[in-house]
């Protein structure tokens, strides 16, 4: 079992720009339409911003205010599908026997966004980039809990997914719209305290429709426990007094 404090959180999805929008959505979750919107990220200078993919912009927008300019915090980037847009563009180039774009190639690796975070925020500490199955979010929390267990006072965790190109329809079915959730976790902060535990799954099926990380946003609003069964694993989120 892991226990930690959610010091602060920020989420992004198309049209969901502030806390009020999320509070309304959490009261009655509905499908969000993704028309390719992306955060402006005007806090990043233009020469650096041009290298940010849509997924990277979503991550920066969500995570940026959670880290002070004078802080060094470990960073956990989690995404099940990662930079599918960049990968798909490169597959297209390969299919046409065209040379690969060096920019696309360099920034398509799974830890590229963690690297960009490090450069843009002057962060010199630990960073982790992970991809898992439908419970990638929980695995990201395990990473953060391990960093906190090592004695670090706080950690930033971001899970982000970008709706992939239509060619992936039928292959990627768990990103109804692009989204990100960024959390600032600590051992002894002042926010709500949560426990995450893992048990064997007895055959329960996962809830389809809403991305799991956004179900946790809803739990942050109503303070209710949350179950996440996936294959042999059953994760349990429990608010703790």
């Amino acid at each position: 079992m892991m226990e930690f404090v959610v010091d602060a959180w920020r989420a992004w999805a198309p049209g969901m720009e502030d806390e009020t929008a999320w509070a309304t959505w959490c009261a009655a979750p509905h499908a969000i339409v993704d028309n390719g919107e992306q955060p402006a990220c005007e806090f990043v200078p233009p020469m650096q911003r041009r290298r940010l993919s849509r997924l990277a912009r979503i991550v920066m927008h969500a995570a940026w205010p959670l880290c002070g300019d004078d802080e060094q915090l470990p960073f956990v980037f989690a995404s099940r599908h990662g930079e599918t847009t960049r990968t798909f563009a490169m597959l297209d180039e390969i299919g046409r026997n065209a040379p690969l774009s060096p920019t696309q190639f360099g920034l398509s690796v799974h830890n590229a966004i963690a690297g960009q975070w490090s450069i843009l925020r002057g962060q010199r500490g630990e960073s982790v980039a992970i991809a898992g199955e439908a419970d990638t979010f929980e695995h990201a929390i395990v990473e953060a809990a391990a960093l906190l267990g090592d004695g670090l006072p706080a950690a930033i965790v971001v899970i982000a997914e970008e709706r992939p190109a239509p060619a992936y329809d039928g292959h990627i079915d768990d990103i109804p719209f692009s989204y990100a959730l960024a959390l600032r976790l600590s051992v002894a902060g002042s926010g709500p305290r949560w426990r995450l535990s893992l048990a064997a799954n007895d055959g329960a099926a996962p809830v389809a429709g809403v991305p799991h990380a956004l179900r946790f946003v809803r739990a942050l609003h109503d303070g209710a426990p949350l179950d996440h069964p996936w294959k042999t694993r059953r994760w349990h989120w429990q608010p703790s007094a």
Binding site: P46, P102, T103
Partner: protein
Amino acid sequence: MTDLERDIARLIIDTLALEHLTVDDIAADQPLFGQGLGLDSVDALELALALQNRYGLRIASDSREARRHFETVRSLALYVESSSCAG
């Protein structure tokens, strides 16, 4: 700027996603790398690829010549012109 120089400036803006700039923001004799426009080594590779696709140029990646051709929009235009005359 000549038409070719404007074409090259446009190509640089589009290829390198310099959305905050227009063709008129890039002077023909402005250094492209380092203190000038601020492009870096990844941009150099990307730009070489784009010039190859657009004008059929072949550019050796680490030659001293290439470094000279890539100094400014004007030097790139001269290189494109001399290459197409030679071809």
